[in-house]
Symmetry: D2
Subunit: 354 residues, 4 copies
């Protein structure tokens, strides 16, 4: 209950600090008999990996996942899947300068207040390094629900936003640029902005959009575990996320009901999809789409004033190699969390009726 598990039937529990020996996790509740393609899992991890392009952090971490249990002769056995990712980059000395310093808008201060102790090396448990374990979990989740497709991409960086509707995008272009934006014109502007921001030692926020197709009807468990409520929690649990909206989202609040209602076709599909594929917390078979807001990374390559654990004013400057914009590397994390939610509800729905 201490917050390191996600999911009800398909359940991921993770462990590990940024600069500890290793990170990893246990997936419990994966059905037996799934033919797992472990290379696909590593491919997803590689999308999240530092150093993959010029516009992300240049740290070198191979992030190789090793599976320890639950898979036998290529198949899941129904027993828990344990896995680890070694921390190859663990050098405590790099972080001595922030041992007693609370970095602004990081979790340093709140961890100390909550736990009375904290692993200050690279943010410890609060580091986004933890999300690598989520990507492993999500990549396995996807293989339980192969018919469902996930397309996730950068929808905005700072003020630069894709202006076309997601239905007009070619998702095959997502991986064609380092920003992971399927609109080439926007992608170029986003990349230029990120390079510019980096040259200032600054950072910038952005949004990630996820579109999920071929979702079976009936997923979601009202009233508290509505499909979009779990998706929202999943996304908000990712580092640096400040908001979540699905379907018509915040813009939808400005509409009238006569504009917003999705009219039915006779096959149960709808002519419009402002509902975002979910009605009453349950999928209706239309595309699910949602948007996730990421704040700018708090670690700056600029001098900042802050305080230390004694309440004294100190000045600090980010060292090492950090992301000027977290959004491109957040894309596989958003997708992994979405897959965890869908796979879990897919299993839960198997017992909704007799």
């Amino acid at each position: 209950m201490a917050g390191n598990s996600f999911g009800t039937l398909f359940k991921l529990t993770t462990f590990g600090e940024s600069h500890g020996t290793a990170i990893g996790g246990i997936i419990d509740g994966c059905p037996a008999g799934v033919n797992l393609d472990l290379e696909k899992v590593q491919e997803e991890l590689d999308k999240r990996r530092p150093g993959q392009s010029a516009i992300v952090t240049q740290r070198k971490e191979p992030d190789t996942v090793e599976f320890l249990s639950g898979i036998f002769e290529g198949k899941t056995t129904g027993t828990p899947i344990g896995f680890v990712i070694q921390n190859s980059n663990q050098k405590s000395k790099d972080y001595s300068h922030i041992k007693d310093t609370y970095r602004p808008s990081h979790a340093d201060y709140t961890y100390d207040e909550k736990y009375g102790v904290r692993d200050y090396r690279g943010g410890g448990r609060s580091s986004a390094r933890e999300t690598a374990s989520r990507v492993v979990g999500g990549a396995i989740a996807k293989q339980i629900i192969p018919e469902i497709s996930f397309s996730t991409y950068t929808a905005s960086v700072g003020e630069i936003e894709i202006s076309v509707d997601h239905k007009e995008l070619d998702f095959n272009l997502i991986e064609s640029n380092p920003v992971r934006c399927p609109d080439p014109a926007s992608a170029e502007k986003m990349e230029t902005l990120i390079r510019e921001i980096r040259s200032q030692g600054d950072t910038i926020g952005g949004t990630v959009q996820c579109v999920i197709k071929n979702v079976p009807k009936g997923l979601g468990e009202p009233v508290f575990n509505k499909l979009h409520a779990e998706l929202g929690k999943a996304m908000l649990s990712i580092n640096a996320v400040k908001g979540f909206e699905f379907g018509s989202g915040f813009e939808g609040t400005k509409l009238k009901g006569s504009q917003h209602n999705d009219q039915f076709n006779t096959d149960g599909s709808t002519t419009t999809n402002l509902s975002g594929g979910i009605q009453g917390g349950i999928s209706n078979g239309m595309d699910i789409y949602f948007r996730v807001a990421f704040k700018p990374v708090a670690t700056l390559m600029q001098k900042q004033q802050t305080i230390n654990s004694k309440g004294e004013e100190v000045s600090m400057q980010g060292k090492g190699r950090h992301d000027p914009c977290v959004v491109p590397r957040a894309v596989p994390i958003v997708e992994a969390m979405a897959a965890l939610v869908l796979a879990d509800f897919f299993l839960q729905n198997k017992i909704s009726k007799i």
Copy 2:
């Protein structure tokens, strides 16, 4: 696990359909020794009650809560608190006209797809009537954490939005108008708009903002159960909600890190509060504030085309008395869910360190 419980230690489980005998719930995990003011619970319910003002549904439901257990001589005993609210308004005949009809953008179709059966009377379990039980739970949750204050209000209706920062609002004015908007100028415009929309037989969306003060430092359980992730799930589980943002929210994605970081004062407070009182998923003692997007109500007093359960096109028109804008009555529900989250994390935090 079928989705009708909320909370980890302070846990609300609810039951009941719109037109069944009664709705109600069980609160398990309420500590013993809390002096409960049950009148306050009823007061919160009255804020959610239909018929309370000219701009909400004119249905008459007294919504009186009756407590069945867990309270003895005015105090909680540590045992589960069972409660019921009778459905005084249960007339099945009113709903025969929609028995086989799927109302657009309602949950009729998805419930049928998921369960193969549905209580069609007034939306059954998918009706917002269910939220009355949440208000009871939230009102009790508040009495566990009396030092924490909640101020919740209508921040926008359609395009009309409060333009001033929440720090400049006088929350004492929230209940001074039927819209529950503490900015009198905006309130008047909102009320006018709602009346106009109602006269068209239409509905309109809006947003609710909640500001939480005096939050102890340390609440929230990373990594998956971050304080804002649970708040987000709580809000997204409310009927008609399409989005959630806290602190700088979606606007924050446009900022640079150097603009967005909250600088520390020497006492650990921050000069700005774009973080929204939460860093790394844990409260830092600053005000928590968030915004919730409500779509326009799907039931219109207009003729609509739709389909029935045989896939035939039919036309329908909303009968009875419905809300032209759900936002004013959603205010106490948002607040109740926030209180449930805070009380739960308050208890969880009692064992974060030894």
Copy 3:
């Protein structure tokens, strides 16, 4: 988490004190589409009811269950089933004499130590009255798994024990005598003993045996949620239970492996069944059988020395009408708990493989 819920997917949460307004509960996770026979539920309750025969407590409680939700047109809808049983017998005055007194081997002292407050009327929440809600839950659980049959009976009272193997008993005789013992010779001796004990103002213990037939293979979730581990927990959670054993039980510890191993027939059944129908925590299709130990009821119709809440010595004597032996009325409770466990694992097993 405060202990008033039982089950993972098919989940019963109960509330209510002995002398409060009502007891009741919520069943969440019941699949939709089950045709419920509510009379059967009441029949099970009647087996637990006080006053049903000369050898049980003569209190008069009709114990009529009222369902409030989750059932529509005779079928479950997949939504939570709320129910209440009114406490017709609630007279606080009867219990004023024990307000400050800790009855020996009751829960009075421990509730006060744990909660700092207690509803002293009739034992409050610690009263076995709470088990009526379990019987309701169990009776519904049975209707999800109609192919599985449960036979539960009194196996011993004091030193008087059924000497024949359960395979030689005619379970149709269970309800032929007030002791609920299918061995008529033993039943008579047990009844005589109970009458004698009652005439002394004393009480006596005993054991209940449950035999479950037609269990599908594959139920149980190792490693921690083994089928017999959940059965054990279920039984030990019943008031007055001191022990649980299944299959060969404690006697099996005296055997050699060569005597204890169950040899396979070629169809996967076994020639003997010392395993008790469960191997490695998973049902193997053979009969499940287990035995539950009940201590003698602690309330005596004799004078006893004890202490009050100030630590002063006081003398007390049981008033009212109590059971001289809890075992006959415990039979339906044991069966209900067994049904809850089996129905839950039945649902869980639907997703063990793909």
Copy 4:
């Protein structure tokens, strides 16, 4: 929910098969600030280790635990504690002879029925090797509740039973003999019996008793999560366990209430302790004691008839080095599970009242 987690607030999740790469687990919910003595953890593991004495299996497995997270500068940080134990002994070839064979009274058949696939190497997940992870979890649990003392020992082997009451035993003698029996006379007889049984290629059952002292009053969460119900589940989840009883246990069913009731002293302690330290599911401060029944090990060094996965009769004979009696090595496992239960309830009780 798939059964590989134990505990509510202090929660152990384990993974790993007998002959996979490694076994291990994650402890979530351990409070921050606990000074962990990791050598003590290894000491407990060494008590469970194969090859430790002449009367247990002579397999050689060092069973060294490696901690991967959650501990920093000797203290717990409140984040999850990940750990692994490498499987040094993993030779698949040893098990090819049982690949398609269902060993009698093992879990081979039921795992195949449930999952449709199974890791046949050494029993896979159903092997008692998994309990090493429990011992790690229990050893850490103990350090959260250092004031509570656990004394666990072999109470019987086959028909040989300690005849004296546990209050008269010197628990310092438990580790003085390989049987782990604090009664030297019985220990000698037990050891002789085990040697004799082993020479026959056979196995024998036995019982383990656990006595827990200095338990704070108030632990346990009625009604379903009574302290003894969780202890029972914990014990029954251990491989080869067939029964559990606490306090007066099955013998207590033969007593009258006037014999069984524990009379109070004025300080709240009781003159007798047939309740076993628990009343109404809550600890009363007296010693908790319980007994666990272990069946004889199913792997025999004798020829046995059985079937294979095609339903054909085959004969088989145990190879390798197995325990003739599991009880001496089960002692630390029983103690670990007891510690997990007590630590969890210790934390849960911190929020039972305000």
